[in-house]
Assembly symmetry: C2
Homo-oligomer: 384 residues x 2
């Protein structure tokens, strides 16, 4: 490379390596079971697609929407936040984006200056790490605390990672790859700490409605403790609309106003047909989500049951999301995932992609229960 830009400081997670190997094996005619991608392998709500079809039929000029989104899409998201998450939201405090990653980037760029610091919890989502570094900011990591078979927010670890340059703390709940859903008490304590220190709390809630009873998701924005909370959401996970790239964020009025500058420079506006799909999805919550969660629980159970007979891994029961994290008896998780893939045809993701070396993330959202059971049978025959 003849130049060194800021991307040189970013190491791509080993997922590309695994995917390349998977493609190679597929090319050889191997029957793979993909337990890699963190998605819901179901068709999206019928109404989401139907609304887009109608929009196409009724649209002649395909022009830009206002930067923050179509007024009716902003109102639909605000209504969703009020009704489903208990957040006092209004349309003028919502911006539609090209997926939740863009919502995260908009948020970080709006609340930081280069050189500022952002605290991420680990294990965590690598794109947040990328985005903070691309913004010219410094990532500080605070470990989650593993206790009683679940990950918990460690307020002391967070405080230890903070200093006068800290501008934001990022919460991902349900957590990727941890499968953790922050409890109400944890969320309250986190809000109190952020309020006391006057730092932004960026709350990534892309798996919000995908939780397993009795656990349910509590948004920090619903608690009324801290003003500076930015909520990020997505239609890719809960509504299986990943291909449409549509998400949103909601925050205080001045933050939303400032961040429109970022929105204009990055994408102008979210794709309009995707905004239409999002509105159709929101109309479908009652018809769609309970059945999706039921399917997800069946898949989760198939994976948990299937892993029980495999001494190589120790799986953590997930509280939400579409995957679980399992601890390995071996250290090199990248080699483990490659060997597993080569020998059994099962695709998983090395934990070191998420700051969890010695672990493996296994997704259950993407495959029917029978395929998961079959994958487990194959995996049980494998010992690292």
């Amino acid at each position: 490379m003849s130049w060194k830009g800021r991307t040189a400081d970013i190491e791509r997670p080993p997922i590309a390596e695994i995917n390349a190997l998977a493609s190679e094996l597929e090319g050889q005619g191997r029957d793979l079971v993909n337990l890699g991608q963190a998605i819901l392998g179901l068709p999206p709500p019928v109404k989401a697609v139907e609304r887009v079809r109608e929009w196409i039929e009724s649209t002649s000029l395909h022009v830009y929407a206002p930067d923050p989104g179509q007024p009716e899409a902003r109102e639909a998201v605000a209504g969703f936040l009020r009704e489903r998450k208990g957040i006092e939201a209004s349309a003028d405090r919502v911006i539609l984006t090209c997926g939740a990653n863009q919502a995260f980037v908009n948020s970080i760029l709006a609340v930081t200056r280069p050189g500022d610091e952002v605290v991420l919890m680990v294990p965590g989502y690598f794109d947040h790490d990328f985005a903070v570094k691309l913004a010219g900011c410094v990532v500080r990591e605070a470990p989650l605390r593993l206790e009683d078979g679940r990950y918990a927010i460690d307020i002391e670890a967070l405080e230890a990672a903070m200093n006068e340059r800290t501008r934001a703390v990022v919460l991902v709940s349900p957590g990727n790859p941890s499968g953790m859903v922050a409890t109400r008490r944890e969320t309250e304590r986190l809000c109190e700490m952020c309020a006391r220190r006057d730092v932004w709390l960026v709350s990534d809630e892309v798996y919000d409605l995908l939780t397993f009873p009795p656990v349910s998701h509590v948004s920090p924005a619903s608690l009324g403790i801290h003003e500076k909370v930015i909520v990020l959401g997505s239609f890719s996970k809960v509504f299986a609309l990943a291909s449409w790239r549509v998400g949103y964020y909601a925050g205080p009025a001045d933050m939303i106003e400032e961040s429109i500058k970022v929105q204009d420079a990055l994408v102008v506006c979210a794709p309009v047909p995707s905004q239409v799909a999002a509105m159709g999805a929101i109309e479908s919550v009652d018809a769609y989500v309970p059945a999706a969660v039921e399917a997800l629980i069946e898949r989760r159970d198939a994976l948990m049951d299937g892993l029980r007979g495999w001494s190589t891994v120790e799986a953590l029961a997930p509280e939400g999301g579409t995957f679980l994290l399992a601890r390995l008896g071996v250290v090199d998780d990248v080699e483990f995932c490659k060997d597993l893939l080569r020998e059994t045809g099962v695709v998983t993701v090395p934990g070191s992609a998420f700051g969890a070396p010695g672990c493996v993330r296994i997704s259950f959202g993407n495959q029917p229960a029978e395929r998961i059971a079959e994958a487990c049978e194959r995996m049980r025959s494998f010992s690292a």
Copy 2:
């Protein structure tokens, strides 16, 4: 505002003000003619929409595409670059994005570090200014040279704006708002200078096929003079697909590889239905573009003719794009545009939004010739 992030350094262009006034007047029942937005006010190619319809019918799972784009979409763009722009492009050097703005952001983030400098030509496109500042980089402005009734690239001014921190020079041709199309000779000299100084040349070509004969667009990537050229393109302008938010960039292999990290963090991938629309658009070039340019020329002529009788402005004949820049006899172009809008109902954009104070950008792409003629009649009755 209780915090000061990097957006505080960015002043939003006065377009929002004009739009707010326009909405207010529209609310009062005023008949407005919008000569503000820089778009082609025509329906997109039939095939673009048709392809999306077919894709919707044949798709059950709406999953992510690979980060850089669907393989067939990347190949389609590469073919377009080879056949229509004479660029030796291959699919693996193309990345589909959520519009050309995102392509610009990806490029800047991949080739700079915070504190680096980027040279922009003025008058120029404000979102480039925003994006460079958001990246934590420094904008250096180099004026275009006005001679013989057109804007020209001023190599000496560019060199004067450069120093050892300069990482990139940005060319927008056809230029917004200048209407300039860089000549072959200008483009060669620009490439030579960038090669000599080893800086990136980011070439925004979103209006590429919208030029007025005998003028045509020459991409610096087609000349074989400089390796470090990044070409940005869009389907919003030439193919009237703005609502779908789809664009692309093409560059050297190592730059493309590095920038995938940015792509993943920002949007994961371009919206898949939008990639499908883009492929349909590319198939339609021969059927669609000549007629679009013909309509555009008719509209341009209506505007140029109509402005001739109006002593208040001196219009520059555009060589490409969907607008022209006109010089005013008055200094305060923002007040001028507001007064013009209030008195005549014609929406225009103040030049100071683009670093051209005392000017006004008047778009002709967005309205039929008769409406433009009518707008001119109204404008001629107005004297600042």
